[in-house]
């Protein structure tokens, strides 16, 4: 049957063809595999390594904040933590086996440490799922006793180790808390985390200088490459980029004076600022009541924060820069300088004070209802005679007074590196028209002359004023920060002394005012006599400014001083809420402060 065998032959030929095609296709697959796996292996190897490497963001050591004598106000202290290194603890098989092992170790260690771990079983699971190559911290803030027990313990310590974390600390127990502020857990944004799979908790400034200088203080985060093994545990690690520690912020502050200033007003709400009149350095800046920033780290307790926020005495507010007060009589030197400098009044001019000053047909009372009698400038400052200052202010005009106030830096922000600095207000006719839609009256001039009315100032502005009176007319910008240093102590930036302006006075004018201020403290009858200390000649001015509702009048007590009189090194402004008067309430507190600064007998103590 040739036909049949022919058909069969065709079929066999075709089957052979199909087989050849299949084998050809298999060879083709083999060729593709060869090119993928052998020729291009490196390329895929690289992709693979990128996939099995994890980058961990490492926060830099936060910079310190030092005072002018290198005393640390904000520092880092080691916090000893006990951590599990899972790659050494893991058990084969299901991850629950590893959890069981960790729990067993934890129970063992709990007995040893005598306190419960910070983490629950759920935390362990989360850690295994999300942060497997990182150490799992189980105890934090170990004390030396616990560390010693751990060192002597006879338990299995493989995979358990002490891990040191820097903790923010405020070693001077809350000194200058309003200036320094505090830190809290950072909310890292996507830009900061780009390229990292894991990150460690970081701190960021939440208030004060910690916030203002956050960028400099926090330094530059680094990174560590962690190669994970086939199961996702850490296999090896390698530093990729060392974190660059944050810069040290060096303040002009003198922590000794700061402590004195804080204790001078620790029992009353108020504020103190101590400046160096030779350069504007802020030697102390205190606000009362204060808070202790150590309680805010690492997390601000919610109840505490709410309590502080609701407190009518505003402990979170830095009153030295963020609160405004009417200055009252401590403003009078400015009125005097305005009148004398304009030439309308001479220092020898005598005014008769009957105990009141007539504005039209309405009398404005002097604080002494019996009157001061005939007073010249020196006596008027010493006695703080309202009638005298109203008289000279009316003579020279309110514009001259407000101009002089503006020259002293009132009504403008000093630019100090602190949050929420208030501007204050120096009222003018234009301001009154705009704000109250009313014209300026003689009464407004009289109020302005004695530091009342709409005039309001910050304690810092008053300290700048005192410093300007002390140095004879240079208005320095208050300098809180001297400079930044890198972590090895190399200077990075220096903040120079900056004068806002030099006020030009006619000869003798400043001297006349300073003599009056000298008598305020040094004369037997001076209103500021209670601030006097032995061995140091000081000058100053007291003030009492009324505030609050008519039925419930309260008084702010003020006092400014500078000392020593002939070569002033300190200019101070202090304000106390709810005072009897500047001289009675603030005088003794200022005395305590100055005694502390100069020491008994006027020999300056300390550095």
């Amino acid at each position: 049957m040739p036909a049949a065998s022919n058909t069969i032959n065709t079929e066999l030929r075709r089957i052979r063809l199909v087989l050849l095609i299949m084998l050809g296709l298999l060879v083709l697959l083999g060729g593709v595999l060869f090119s993928l796996q052998v020729s291009r292996e490196q390329e895929f190897e690289d992709s693979l390594h990128r996939q099995s490497l994890r980058r961990v963001r490492l926060p830099a050591l936060r910079g310190r904040i030092l005072d002018r004598n290198q005393v640390a106000l904000a520092d880092n202290q080691p916090c000893y933590c006990l951590a599990f290194y899972l790659e050494d603890i893991r058990k084969p098989g299901k991850s629950t086996n590893t959890v069981v092992e960790i729990r067993r170790r934890m129970t063992e260690l709990t007995a040893l440490m005598g306190r419960k771990p910070l983490i629950s079983e759920a935390d362990i699971m989360t850690h295994i799922k999300r942060r497997l190559p990182l150490p799992l911290v189980a105890w934090r803030s170990l004390d030396p006793a616990a560390l010693a027990r751990l060192a002597e313990a006879r338990v299995d310590m493989t995979g358990v180790d002490v891990y040191v974390e820097p903790n923010r600390a405020y070693p001077k127990n809350g000194l200058a808390s309003h200036l320094i502020g505090y830190v809290g857990k950072a909310d890292l944004d996507d830009a900061a985390l780009a390229g990292y799979q894991y990150y460690l908790p970081e701190m960021e400034g939440k208030m004060g200088l910690e916030l203002k200088f956050d960028t400099a203080l926090k330094g530059e985060a680094g990174g560590r490459m962690v190669r994970i093994d086939a199961s996702g545990y850490k296999h090896a690690e390698q530093m990729e980029k060392d974190p660059r520690p944050g810069a040290t912020v060096v303040l002009a502050l003198d922590s000794r004076i700061q402590a004195l200033a804080e204790s001078a007003i620790s029992d009353v709400p108020g504020a103190v600022v101590v400046l160096d009149p030779r350069n504007g350095d802020v030697l102390a800046l205190a606000s009362s009541p204060a808070f202790n920033p150590s309680q805010f780290v690492p997390i601000v307790p919610k109840a505490l924060y709410e309590q502080l926020n609701a407190d009518p005495e505003k402990p979170l507010l830095n009153k030295a820069v963020a609160e405004v007060y009417p200055p009252g009589s401590i403003f009078k030197p400015v009125t005097a300088l305005a009148a004398l400098n304009g030439g309308a009044v001479s220092a020898g001019m005598v005014v008769d004070c009957p105990g009141y000053y007539m504005i039209g047909n309405r009398p404005m009372k002097c604080w002494n209802p019996n009157g001061h009698g005939r007073v010249d400038l020196r006596r008027a400052i010493e006695q703080s005679c309202n009638v005298y200052f109203a008289t000279i202010a009316v003579k020279c005009g309110n514009e001259a007074v407000s101009d002089m106030a503006a020259q002293f830096g009132l009504g403008e922000r000093s630019g100090i590196e602190l949050d929420r600095e208030a501007r204050g207000l120096v009222p003018t006719a234009a301001w009154k028209q705009k704000a109250w839609n009313d014209q300026w009256r003689i009464g407004d001039t009289c109020n302005l002359s004695i530091g009342q009315g709409a005039l309001c100032v910050t304690p810092l502005q008053m300290a700048v004023m005192a410093a300007t009176l002390a140095n004879g007319g240079t208005v320095y910008r208050p300098r809180l920060v001297l400079g930044l240093q890198d972590w090895q102590g190399q200077a990075l930036t220096n903040y120079p002394v900056r004068a806002a302006r030099q006020i030009a006075f006619k000869p003798g004018v400043m001297e006349a005012v300073r003599q009056g201020m000298h008598d305020v403290v040094m004369a037997p009858t001076g209103t500021g006599g209670r601030a006097r200390i032995p061995g140091v000649e000081m000058a100053g001015k007291t003030g009492t400014a009324e505030y609050g509702e008519k039925e419930d009048r309260k008084k702010h007590g003020w006092m400014i001083v500078f000392a020593p009189y002939d070569k002033p090194r300190y200019a101070v402004a202090m304000v106390v809420d709810d005072a009897v008067s500047g001289g009675l309430t603030v005088g003794p507190r200022l005395q305590a402060l100055m005694l502390g600064i100069f020491g008994e007998g006027g020999t300056e103590a300390g550095g």
């Binding site: 065709t10 089957i15 052979r16 199909v18 084998l23 697959l29 593709v32 099995s52 299901k94 994970i228």
Partner: protein, 392 residues
């Protein structure tokens, strides 16, 4: 008793090389299913023991079918065909939905894929139709009949939707027709037509965007040509692998990295980071992407062993076709070999990125009970043809 001894005697004529290759593939599969699931904590962790059980069931089937005379299937071919069609209809209504497709029928707690059954039923029916007992046989007549008969299960499988499995019918029937001596011209035409259709589908996905059609118009167009979103996505990913490597392209890209980083000798058993770390999706690593696990951990050498084992199965199968005592045996073997080859080729092709991702398992190696048993049943038929070859 006598009959049983006769069957045992037949078994001694079995192609032992092919059986060895089959067992080799199964063993490799079990090992790498273990590797692909070792990191799991859930119930799927003991997939490899299930696979061993299925392999034992399958091998028993294999020996049973080898003893069975394949010519007896002639009486059962139509019944098998209609059964599979009924199951395919049933799966559309009662099937368990997994990842948006109804491909599984739950039967006494065992999931079966009717599409796998349908392929085998089609091969058996095809072999019968193409080799009638009649002496005078016009090869043209069953040609169109076979096409129509194939069309029904194909469309039903496509409806599940399972485009990949449905397309497997095409090479299968073509190869059987070709081997059965069908006239070459219409076959070539048909092949050209099929190729054109595939090109058109690819073009339909790629072109509208190139032509600047708005997305709404594109959607309308795709609905008009009955291409579902997932099919369109897969084709698009195949055409532009870099387009969205995180979504649809993820499997393909990760599989390529796994295979590529395996190198010459691989990273070692249980050491493939792509597999163990879960870059290869855990849901598909033991099934459709088992080959990438092998290629990563055993390298080119391991991949080559797998290819050689398939080559051995294919050659043995075709040898059985060539020595078969009748035409039915020939066509049956060609159909079965083509089915297994197509699965292996498409599966490996997709794991190494030369073919689009379609859900087709690797025969004997991928995890899957039904498919294991059906594959071994089919391979048993090849042995059945082989042991009944003429001569000694």
């Amino acid at each position: 008793m006598k009959e049983f001894m006769h069957h045992l005697g037949l078994l001694r004529r079995m192609n032992w090389v092919m059986l060895a290759a089959i067992i080799g593939l199964i063993v490799i599969g079990v090992f790498f299913i273990y590797s692909a699931t070792v990191m799991r904590d859930d119930s799927t962790k003991d997939l490899y023991t299930k696979q061993i059980k299925w392999a034992v069931v399958g091998l028993a089937c294999y020996l049973g079918t080898a003893m069975l005379d394949y010519r007896r299937l002639r009486d059962l071919s139509w019944a098998g065909y209609f059964m599979s069609v009924i199951l395919l209809v049933a799966v559309l209504f009662f099937g368990t939905q997994i990842y948006g497709a109804r491909r599984w029928l739950m039967f006494l707690g065992v999931g079966i894929q009717p599409s796998e059954l349908a392929k085998l039923a089609m091969i058996i029916l095809g072999a019968c139709l193409l080799s009638p007992a009649a002496e005078k046989f016009d090869a043209r007549a069953p040609f169109w009949k076979l096409f129509l008969l194939t069309g029904v299960p194909m469309l039903l499988v496509m409806k599940e939707p399972d485009l990949g499995s449905s397309l497997v019918f095409v090479p299968l029937v073509m190869a059987m027709l070709f081997a059965a001596g069908a006239p070459a011209k219409p076959l070539v035409r048909l092949m050209a037509g099929g190729g054109l259709a595939v090109m058109m589908v690819l073009a339909a996905v790629a072109l509208p965007e190139k032509l600047g059609m708005t997305p709404e118009h594109q959607d309308k167009f795709f609905r008009a040509i009955h291409l579902s979103d997932y099919q369109r996505d897969r084709i698009e990913v195949f055409l532009h692998p870099g387009k969205d490597p995180m979504k649809t392209g993820w499997n393909m890209r990760q599989s390529e990295i796994a295979v590529g980083s395996g190198g010459l000798t691989g990273k070692g058993f249980l050491k493939g980071s792509q597999n163990i770390l879960g870059f290869l999706p855990r849901t598909v690593a033991p099934t459709d992407f088992i080959f990438s696990v092998i290629a990563e951990e055993m390298g080119f050498a391991g991949a080559l062993v797998v290819l050689l084992l398939y080559g051995t199965v294919v050659v043995c199968g075709m040898v059985a076709a060539m020595v078969a005592r009748d035409k039915m045996g020939r066509v049956l073997c060609v159909g079965i070999v083509t089915m297994i080859f197509t699965h292996a080729f498409v599966n490996i092709g997709m794991t190494i990125g030369v073919l689009p991702v379609v859900g087709i398992p690797l025969p004997l190696v991928s995890y899957g009970g039904t498919f294991m048993v059906i594959t071994l049943f089919a391979l048993g038929l090849i042995q059945s043809v082989y042991v009944r070859r003429p001569g000694l």
